[in-house]
């Protein structure tokens, strides 16, 4: 499988993603400059974490005007896997490829720590190797990760099973205490209705090897490879 990792001016996790894909899960990967306009050769595209355009105006707000985003929207429209991590998630919501928005953390602080995610929807291309309820230990690192959507949108994504990950306790309970940033319904990651676009605030790219404190993030990338292999004729 061939993965692409988009670099915006201000991205800073592109090498983490590149390393995870090439060295940890052994797939082909290439960087994609934000001014590139073709994604034809890729099976999956990752929008990495960082501070694209310095987070000026709003997180992700200016990145959505990068030339590559038109290609990303076309790629997603044709069913290609598009995975936004942290700032990548913020960019996908700004670009309208995922519903909702990411507000400032309720405590206003930038948060950088390991926490637990509960897998809410198995069987998406990103959770194809997981079971519902499976706990993942994955770190966050963000100041604007407070997921918000209006009541109708929230109901729709909940009813459609588009909530893929929720912040949970170590025992898998969804409580206010487990919610680091004020996200509605403890939402940490969602997919679009077609399930080929995932955005999540936590960083699986920073938790792909035991040496880093957890290898649970690897499951997401491996699920993508598994799903891509199944979808091939």
């Amino acid at each position: 499988m061939k993965f692409g990792v988009v670099i915006f001016p201000g991205s800073n996790c592109e090498h983490d993603c590149y390393y995870a894909i090439e060295s940890v899960i052994g797939q082909t990967v290439e960087f994609i400059w934000h001014q590139d306009t073709s994604l034809k050769e890729f099976d999956a595209v990752i929008l990495p974490g960082g501070f694209a355009y310095g987070d000026y105006l709003r997180t992700g707000a200016l990145a959505k005007f990068s030339p590559v985003m038109k290609a990303v929207a076309d790629f997603a429209g044709k069913g290609g896997l598009v995975f936004g991590i942290c700032n990548g998630f913020q960019i996908l919501t700004e670009a309208g490829l995922l519903p909702g928005a990411l507000l400032r953390n309720v405590g206003l602080k930038y948060l950088c720590k390991f926490l637990y995610l509960r897998t809410e929807t198995a069987g998406t291309p990103y959770t194809s190797l997981m079971t519902k309820g499976q706990l993942l230990r994955i770190p966050i690192g963000h100041g604007d990760g407070n997921f918000f959507a209006d009541a109708d949108t929230l109901k729709r994504i909940e009813d459609n099973g588009q909530v893929v990950f929720r912040y949970a306790t170590a025992r898998g309970q969804i409580t206010p205490e487990a919610n680091p940033n004020g996200s509605l319904n403890n939402i940490a990651g969602i997919v679009n209705q077609q399930r080929n676009v995932l955005g999540m605030m936590p960083h699986p790219d920073r938790s792909c090897e035991d040496l880093l404190g957890s290898a649970d993030g690897k499951l997401i990338f491996e699920s993508m490879v598994h799903a891509l292999a199944l979808s091939r004729p």
Binding site: N105, V106, A149, D150
Partner: protein, 81 residues
């Protein structure tokens, strides 16, 4: 021609920054302030000689498509000069 665009979070959206500012006011003795909402202000200057129609179209597109995220924010425009 100038215009000012004011962008604020929708009333239904929680404003953690405004809340924090509000909470800190008690220690200043500003006990009559009931609420604080934080927003952004943009001062726009247009090129000379544009028609009113063109001016409105440009500023409204800027406010709507760039300065505001319609999921969480709303804007209003104050036309100057």
């Amino acid at each position: 021609m100038k215009a000012t665009v004011i962008v604020t979070l929708k009333p239904t959206v929680l404003d953690p920054q405004g809340m924090t500012i509000h909470r800190s006011l008690a220690s200043l003795g500003l006990s009559d302030i009931a609420d604080v909402r934080q927003g952004k202000i943009f001062h726009i200057r247009l090129k000379e000689g544009l028609s009113t129609e063109r001016t409105r179209e440009q500023v409204e597109r800027l406010a709507k498509e760039v300065l505001t995220n319609p999921v969480i924010e709303e804007y209003r425009i104050i036309w100057g000069e």
